[in-house]
Amino acid sequence: MPVQLIEPEKILGCRILAIDDEEANVVLLRNLLQREGYTDVHCLTDSSEALKTYIDIEPDLVLLDLMMPEIDGFQLLEAFSRHDAADEFRPVLVLTADTTIQARRKALALGAKDFVSKPFDLIEVGLRISNLLETRLLYERVRAV
């Protein structure tokens, strides 16, 4: 068992924003997160509202689909990093059915902190989410010192 630097309650209390145009996937993610014990989960299927919500709720983590009508995940990644302050660490985990290396590279280049292909393993995704949140909280702690 790895050393717990951050209390699990703090991680589970983090605000998570999930954006996917596919209703089923959003429901699946909500299910997974609730099962894990997360308390502050926000879901969106309309990507055009994503930036506004992002600004409004200031999530600790974003779960982002890439292929979406109107505004796609790449555009949102750019918009997020434009909005965030330079010293902000607000991780985005890309969850996409586009498995091409190009999509992976592009997403990571635009600021995504992790990338998981669909169909994904629920356990793996759960672990990656908690890892990213832990990193964010550690970063926040370092910055506060």
């Binding site: 596919e22 089923a24 996937n25 699946l28 299910n31 997974l32 099962r35 292929m67 996409t96 059915a97 586009d98 498995t99 091409t100 290396i101 190009q102 999509a103 292909s117 669909k118 169909p119 994904f120 393993d121 629920l122 356990i123």
Partner: protein
Amino acid sequence: MRLWTDRPLAFKGLVVIALPLAVLLGALVSLYLASSAEARAEDDVRRAFAIQRDIYQVHALLAEAATGVRGYALTGEDRFLEPYRKSERELPPTLERLDIAIEDEVVSRYFEDLLLVVEEKREGLRSTVALSEIPQASSREEIEEALIANKLALDSVRREIDKIQQREAVVLDERRALVDDVRTRFLTLTAVSGIVGLLGSLAAVYLFSTGIVRRVSKLESNAELLARGERLTELPEEADEIGRLTQRLVGASALLRKREEDLRASEERFRLVIEGVRDYGIFALSPDGIVTSWNLGAERIKGWQAHEILGEHFSTFYPDDTRDFLPKQMLERARADGSAEDEGWRLRKDGSRFWANVVITALRDEDGELQGFAKVTRDMSERRRSEEALRLAREEAEAANLAKSEFLSRTSHELRTPLNAILGFGQLLEIDVEDFNEPHREAIDRITMAGRHLLALINDLLDISSIEAGGADLQFEMLDVASVLREAHDLADPIVSSAGLSFEMSLPESALAVRADRRRLTQVILNLVGNSAKYNTDGSYVRLGAAQDDEGQVSFFVEDDGPGVDPDKASRLFTAFDRLGQNKKTKTEGTGLGLALSKSLVESMNGVIGYSSNDPGARFWFRLAAKDAASSDVIEAQES
């Protein structure tokens, strides 16, 4: 004639000068002989005259003496004896002179006679004088008698003198005739000498003219022909200096002609090459840009014929928008840098434009003086068109490729998105499996199993499609075969071991490299090893190995001692979804795309994949290029 002409010039000159001189000398000698002969003859005449005069003198002396003696005898006066004494004094030297002078024999005879009668006469005169000195002692008769005897003696003297004179006259006439004869003869001789001398001189001049002057003048005209570069007239090959000079001249002419012909031939070849070049417009410009030559290529490219364009300024070839400055610029650049190159639009005679590559080169003579420019024009329209076509084709191919990638990406997305929900919710149900009863559990199991199979299918299918579309990201590098095999062995070992088989490895004998994409190569090996492990249900081992084959390629193989493949069906091994019915007998998993995918992967790395029986068992192999620069270029072209 040859003998004469072959003589050296010095000899000819000697002859030509000596001949008239010799003739002149002959004439002089004959003239001298003539004059001396004439002098001799005249001498004779003069002597004859002298004889005559002395004869007269003898007669006159005697006659006067006789007259004086008579007077003395008659008068006894002494003064009458003066003539007698004079004759006595002068006669002896005169007679002596005559004796010397007389040469003619007849005259000599007569002279001897004369001497006798003269002596007689003188005796008579002496006796008469003696008689007269003593006038008493001598009688008149005796004196008269002596006088008469004297008279008779004088008469005989006269007769003798007449005879001599007559004879001397004859001799004189003879002498005169001789002198005339000698004079005539020598005059004739001189005239003949003169004529002979003249003819000789003429002959010498003729010989000189034929032998030297005419030939020299011919030689001169030949030299003139040579100077003009024309063919020489034939000359006989005499052996003298002129003949040799002629031969030299002929030799020089032949050499000159040969060089000229060589030069002309070379120029002609060069001209033919230049004129014959059809793909390049090659022409010359004067220093100020006037067209001075034109070739076939220029005519073909630009449309003007030589007679239409010679003398025109080359700015005619430039379209309106560049005509004012570009031609000038080009010449200035060529003048400054030696040559100038440009690519751009030019005009044809019919006004149409063509894309041209132009090189202008400054032509300078040995002193660096600008003589003009050489201009080479190439019509690049075709190349430009084909480049354009190539660019369009490339763009189209890129667009098609992009569309294909886009399609694959979208298909992948569209298939995976629902599968994500299926597998995700299935997984959720699996997590809550305790909440369900047995039939539901089995249903959940089947849903997730089928979902995973579908995912595997989709993955393989998309893999194959993307490889075949050339969209797969192949990263070629030189790989060490042994390390690739060891890595694959480590990865596949759990699979083989779990099938209860021993996993053997046959490494190449020496270090061996292969040019391939590491991930794809490993994927193929794992696929084949996985197949062997899966289907080798009654054997004991799976063997992985590689070796260099005869053609220098690297041959990888995976073999086992399992049931192998039915030879009739071996040809269908690499066909997608054709699992040869094996999955019906056994519960082997798989999408049926494994070998098809392997084939695509191997072929994407320019390799060949195949199957052969291992007896017992199966043997799958594939060959890749060990190191092939040529094919690697092709691969890189495909990658980009």
